[in-house]
């Protein structure tokens, strides 16, 4: 029997692995990947809740939005990475610490 | 009040269309910008002529056929209302004509052409707005907006001391505007914030004569207090003594075309303000302060003439002569008779043409000499023998000069004579003293002419060339206007007399 909690568990696993990747990896692209995972976790949650709690279409729409936003975000993020690489010849996250005063 | 004709809208917004066009044309194509501006002003001028043609001279109030009104800011009952009557039409014609001519005379401007012409057209639009607005708020907006292009035109394209002059001009006028703003807001509340609280026509007619106002524990007459506020606001623009000192600075520093507009049109906005706003809205207070206006006008006439005679910079001389001549307008306004008032409006028009000629001619001369000294600070002659060197220029100069000093047969005379006829019975002493202004007016102009034009050609002047075709082309319409309206003033008088008569009748009831 697949219940709501099963979905939530998978979602939680996705979220945690994404969080771990984001915090531990120094490669910016990997961090972007981690963000994608987190977003996917959120999307999965939406679909699950809309399916089990009130059976309508809004959660689906929201997850579609999230996919689009994720794609857009990846595009922007990768663009920044490319510019950053051109400037620094590196995609190491600690090299991007210029905001510190 | 939703009129069928959009003519006034076209006249008002045509210059702004020109501004947009100038912004679109790349700044490298200087000639395209010049031609575009010229065509634009020409169209505006033609539209004003069409307006003149369609104008019904028998109507005293606003011409219903041209009125146009739509709500602008509904919450505060502010409307976009434009209209024309016999007092504003001469000013509109003058604006149309002078801007067209000034574009031609600005052909030689080389410093950032795009900005110059864009600002110039912007100035025209806002000036038109002042003369066409029937909504006090709209009037105020255009009145203030007009300062922006003026500030930059003087401050960027002016002479060596331009920033000082521009700031001075701006602050002076702004000071007056603020007083006017206070008056406007007071009227808005006095009128109960109703639908017509900003409508100049609805405000006019002396509704506030008996209104009292309590302030600082004293009771003031509403109309007298705010008449004084409005008076100062408009008087600075005229300029009435003692608010006149921005004028010599602004004139001397401004580029030629801007001086022309300043003297030819902008000064008239002050007196137009009296006729459109201060007088109709506060007729009782106007009658009460008429003596004061007359004396100030007299001081303007005499003091301006005396100061003009002492000047060694020819442009400054003409600037002070404007002070003197606008004093005659003030005298006519103080008369409050049909002769005097008609004379004042006619003098506004005539001074616009004659003084524009003077400034254009000085500009033409300046392009050749690059200085304006009648007598240099070291005592040597700045010019000499120009009559021999520049015959065409001299003839036009003579026409302008004699028109300016009120020679019969040229335009200045009729208006001055009407003003004197209007004012004599009420203020005999002032008339006697003001006649001295006529004498001094002849004296400083002729003295200047003698020093610059007679005698041998001095070494420096020998390289000057006479007026070229373009210069003659733009002086010609003004020459014709000065002569034709000097002999036959009816075309102008007929359009204004009903409206002026109505205003005089209103004032006569107080």
């Amino acid at each position: 029997m697949i219940t709501l909690s099963s979905y939530l568990m998978i979602s939680l696993a996705l979220f945690l692995s994404g969080l771990v990747v984001m915090i531990s990896r120094k490669n910016i692209i990997a961090i972007l990947l981690g963000i994608e995972l987190i977003l996917n976790a959120a999307a999965l949650n939406f679909v699950a809740y809309t399916r089990f709690v009130n059976d309508n279409i809004e959660g689906h729409i929201m997850s579609l939005f999230i996919i689009v936003i994720a794609a857009a975000e990846a595009a922007v993020g990768l663009g920044i990475v490319i510019r950053f690489f051109q400037m620094r010849e590196s995609i190491h996250i600690d090299d991007a610490a210029q905001l510190q005063s | 009040m939703h009129g069928s004709s959009h003519l006034l809208n076209w006249i008002l917004w045509m210059p702004f269309i020109g501004v947009l066009g100038n912004l679109i044309i790349p700044s490298k194509k200087a000639n395209a910008i010049r031609w575009w501006s010229l065509i634009n002003t020409a169209i505006t001028f033609i539209l004003t002529l069409v307006l003149y043609k369609q104008f019904d001279t028998s109507v005293a109030g606003m011409q219903e056929a041209f009125n146009f009104s739509i709500p602008w800011i509904k919450q505060f009952n502010i409307f976009y209302t434009v209209g024309v009557d016999g007092i504003s039409l001469p000013m509109i014609l003058l604006t149309g004509l002078l801007f067209f001519i000034c574009i031609l005379s600005s052909w030689t401007v080389e410093k950032s052409v795009k900005g110059y012409f864009a600002l110039f057209l912007f100035l025209q639009g806002s000036v038109m707005g002042v003369f066409l607005s029937l909504d006090f708020f709209l009037f105020y907006v255009f009145w203030e907006v007009m300062l922006i292009p003026m500030f930059f035109l003087i401050g960027i394209w002016g002479g060596e001391n331009r920033e000082y002059a521009a700031v001075k001009f701006f602050l002076y006028t702004f000071f007056g505007s603020i007083l006017m703003l206070v008056g406007m807001v007071a009227l808005y509340y006095a009128k109960g914030k109703g639908v017509d609280a900003f409508n100049i026509l609805a405000l006019s007619g002396g509704h506030f004569t008996d209104l009292k106002l309590s302030m600082f524990g004293t009771e003031f007459s509403f109309s007298k207090l705010f008449f004084v506020f409005m008076f100062i606001g408009f008087a600075i623009k005229v300029p009435v003594f003692p608010f006149h000192t921005w004028l010599p600075h602004a004139h001397v520093q401004a580029p030629t075309a801007v001086s022309v507009i300043l003297a030819g049109v902008l000064l008239k906005m002050g007196t137009y303000g009296f006729l459109r706003i201060a007088y109709p809205i506060f007729p009782a207070a106007s009658v009460h302060f008429a003596d004061c206006i007359a004396w100030l006008g007299l001081i303007n006439v005499i003091y301006g003439a005396f100061c003009a005679m002492a000047q060694t910079d020819v442009k400054k001389l003409v600037a002070y002569s404007s002070v003197s001549h606008m004093g005659f307008v003030m005298l006519g306004l103080a008369a409050m008779t049909i002769q005097g008032m008609n004379g004042a409006v006619l003098q506004m028009f005539n001074h616009g043409t004659s003084t524009a000629m003077m400034f254009l001619l000085i500009g033409i001369l300046y392009e050749r000499s690059h200085h304006r000294w009648i007598v240099r600070p070291d005592g040597s002659k700045g010019f000499g023998g120009l009559y021999t060197q520049l015959p065409k220029f001299s003839i036009v100069f003579i026409i302008a000069m004699f028109a300016s000093m009120g020679l019969p047969g040229l335009s200045g005379f009729i208006s001055e004579a009407l003003i004197f006829l209007g004012i004599y019975e009420k203020y005999t002493t002032i008339t006697v003293l003001a006649l001295l202004g006529l004498l001094l007016g002849a004296a400083y102009l002729l003295w200047m002419f003698k020093r610059m034009f007679f005698g041998d050609v001095i070494e420096e002047c020998k390289s000057y060339t006479d007026m070229n075709k373009r210069e003659i082309a733009y002086m010609l319409p003004l020459c014709v206007a000065v002569i034709v309206f000097g002999i036959y003033p009816s075309p102008i008088l007929n359009i204004m007399k009903a409206s002026v008569g109505k205003l005089v009748t209103l004032l006569g009831t107080y």
Binding site: L19 | F306, Y387, F454, S490, N494, G501
Partner: protein, 721 residues
């Protein structure tokens, strides 16, 4: 009657259109322009002759007038009426003036084609001349003071242009400006007079002014505390003083000779200065009503005598003539003052004829005398002499005119001047206040005869004093455009044309008796006649034929008791004899001094050195006006005011606000800096800085550290739930 506008308007319009056309074509077609100008003035003369002959000889030879009005503009609105009408007014005086002005101007035009032919601005001269003449004709035809003023000022402009004609010369600029400004003083008063009259009459038409005088509208009206008739009359007379160069505004006329000589002839004879006297004649009833006649007589007497004394010491031939003009104008004004209306106007006409001729003759002399060293024409009489043989025509023309101006019997000057002096004498005997003007008049007549003959003798008689100049002068041969105007004018200096016959009997028949035409035609305006005057609307010819002249109006003795009539006749006769005696005495003195050389003028000079110097300096009027009033009074005042305006008022009062503001904002800035900023704001800042030290460590810029913080915060937050 059947006078249409088209019989009158061309008189003024022809020269005016000539001016308009010539102004455009003169540069390219000089010859054509000159022809147009001359043709126009001759055509105008033709029309004027028609009017003149109709009025003088023909159908209207009594007191008719034509009055046509059109509306210039109308400002009426509702109950407020303001109309400005312009119109044409012709009566006998106008007709005579028109004839004189067009006639003299025509001859001057013709002469100018000779005199100006070599000038580089030949054509332009005629442009101004046409405008000048048309302005004068317009003035004469005007029916109201305002249009008189308009043309009056236009003439001022023309004289400005003509006096400044040689604009390369510095002096021309000074002279033209002086002429314009001096006359402008009078003009401003004139305008004031117009305003004053307007306030009473509501109009400035002559006939309406006469009517107002007759119905007493002026009584009880005051301006600035002065009775209005006096105020207005004086103001208008000031106009005359300015335009006709009377004391104390006479200074401009001598300088006016800076212009070309024919223009001097026009200014001195037919146009400019005549206008002033014409105006005071027209406004005589007002000046009479304002009790100004005594003042006018004094001004006239002083001018007549004073100018004559200055003329005694002039060496420039044109200067002598200029002062003689002022002096003769003084006689006309004296005539107005003593009520000798008819004679004053007659002197205006006779003077116009002989003075035009004198100036043209002087021009003819000057033009012939050409200095080969300086390449300029010679005007100095000490360098002339003996020219009679070189230029006989000019000599005879000038001789006739000199005889006329000196007051020799049978010449026109005698007829008119004698009558003025006779009337002055009668007035002087009747009332003490007129004695001095009368005596000044007689003394001036003596001087006139003397200085005019001094001029003649120095110029035409004796030995040539500048041999070189004399030898280079060509002998005058008769040429039409040079000599014809001179000779024709000199013919008309004969008295017979003005008095009607040699014996003064006259040839105009009125009521069975013969009278002089001038006396019949020109009478003082009788204001009562206009009491019921009503103007006709435009288009209707308006001739009043119902005024029957009473004989008293042209016969001074009519109606008087026989004894008084005898008295008047008696004193007229005495006056005539005195003036004849005086004229011949003056001529005799001049003869003894300059022909016989029996009396040495130098002795007189050394006897009265101070007076001589005063005369040479024109009684120091110029020094007083220019050096005193203008240089010491006006210009310092101007500079002071300009300094107050820009140097004090603008600099301190207006720009002073900047200082005030600066002071304010310095205080505000201090408050802002110390109190607000340092203590309050920076104090806060310091406390913040403490946290800052801690937070800096957190703010590593490393994004993963931020993630960690977020995560731990979240976890902690959730934990506390």
């Amino acid at each position: 009657m059947d006078y249409t506008i088209w019989a009158i308007a061309p008189i003024v319009l022809l020269p005016f259109f000539a001016f308009v056309i010539n102004a455009f074509i003169v540069k390219k077609f000089t010859k054509l322009a000159v022809t147009i100008s001359c043709a126009a003035i001759l055509g105008s003369f033709g029309f004027a002759s028609k009017v003149f002959s109709d009025f003088v000889f023909g159908k209207y030879a009594e007191d008719y007038h034509i009055h046509k009005v059109f509306n210039w503009f109308d400002l009426s609105y509702g109950s407020q009426i303001f109309k400005l009408d312009m119109g044409i007014y012709i009566d006998n005086m106008t007709a005579v003036m028109l004839f004189m002005v067009t006639g003299v101007a025509s001859l001057i035009h013709i002469f100018s084609t000779y005199y100006m032919a070599e000038d580089k601005r030949f054509g332009r001269f005629f442009v101004y001349m046409s405008l000048f003449t048309s302005a004068m004709l317009g003035l004469v035809l005007s029916d109201n003071l305002l249009s008189v003023f308009i043309f009056w000022e236009l003439m001022g402009f023309c004289s400005y242009s003509l006096i400044g004609f040689y604009y390369e010369k510095e002096g021309a600029g000074n002279a033209s400006m002086k002429a314009f400004m001096t006359t402008r003083i009078g003009d401003v008063f004139f305008l004031l007079g117009i305003l004053a009259i307007w306030s009473v009459v509501g109009n400035v038409t002559f006939v309406d002014i006469y009517r107002a005088i007759s119905d007493g509208s002026f009584n009880g009206a005051f301006a600035l505390g002065i009775p209005l008739a006096t105020f207005a009359g004086f103001s208008i007379f000031m106009g005359t003083i300015g335009k006709s160069a009377q004391f104390p505004l006479q200074v401009w006329l001598p300088d006016a000779m800076f212009g070309p000589t024919p223009c001097s002839a026009l200014i001195h004879a037919a146009t400019m200065v005549a206008a002033g006297v014409y105006l005071s004649l027209r406004m005589y009833p007002l000046m009479d009503a304002g009790n100004l006649t005594t003042l006018i007589a004094y001004i006239g007497g002083i001018t007549a005598f004073g100018a004559a004394t200055i003329a005694l010491v002039q060496t420039d031939i044109k200067a002598v003539l200029a002062y003689s003009t002022i002096s003769q104008l003084g006689y006309m004004v004296l005539g107005v003052g003593v009520g000798s209306y008819n004679a004053a106007f007659m002197h205006l006409i006779t003077h116009a004829v002989f003075k035009a001729c004198l100036f043209l003759s002087a021009g003819s002399v000057i033009h012939s005398l050409h200095d080969h060293h300086t390449h300029e024409h010679v005007q100095d009489m000490p360098r002339m002499g003996g020219l009679r043989k070189k230029m006989p025509y000019t000599f005879w023309a000038m001789m006739f005119c000199t005889l006329a101006i000196a007051g020799v019997p049978f010449f026109s000057g005698f007829v008119s001047k004698d009558r003025i002096l006779g009337d002055a004498l009668i007035m002087g005997i009747a009332s003490k206040s007129y004695i001095i003007p009368a005596l000044l008049g007689f003394a001036g007549a003596l001087l006139t005869a003397f200085y005019m003959f001094r001029m003649m003798f120095l110029t035409f008689f004796g030995e040539p004093r500048d041999k070189d100049l004399y030898d280079h002068t060509k002998k005058e041969t008769f040429s039409l455009n040079r000599n014809f105007p001179l000779l024709l004018l000199s013919v008309f200096t004969l008295g017979v044309f003005f008095s009607g016959s040699l014996t003064g009997q006259g040839f105009v028949k009125v009521a069975g008796e013969r009278y002089e035409w001038f006396k019949v035609l020109i009478t003082k305006p009788k204001v009562e006649k206009f009491a019921s005057y009503e103007r006709q609307p435009w288009g209707n010819t308006d001739i009043k034929s119902n005024f029957q002249l009473s004989k008293a109006e042209y016969d001074p003795t009519y109606g008087l008791p026989a004894k008084e009539a005898h008295h008047v006749h008696h004193w007229h006769l005495v006056g005539a004899l005195i003036s004849i005696f005086i004229a011949f005495t003056g001529i005799f003195i001049a003869y003894m001094m300059y022909i016989k050389k029996a009396w040495n003028p130098g002795r007189w000079v050394s006897m009265f050195t101070r007076w001589y110097r005063a005369l040479q300096n024109k009684y120091y009027f110029d020094d007083f006006y220019i050096g005193g009033i203008i240089k010491k009074g006006l210009l310092p005042l101007n500079n002071l005011l300009a300094y107050i305006d820009m140097g004090l008022y603008d600099r301190y009062a207006v720009d002073g606000w900047e200082k005030v503001n600066r002071a304010f904002f310095t205080v505000a800035k201090w408050f802002d800096n110390i109190v607000v900023d340092t203590v309050a704001v920076d104090g806060t800042g310091a406390s913040v800085r403490l946290f800052n030290v801690v937070l800096r460590m957190v703010q590593s810029g490393k994004i993963q550290l931020y993630f960690m913080i977020i995560v731990f915060t979240l976890v902690g937050f959730i934990w506390t739930l």
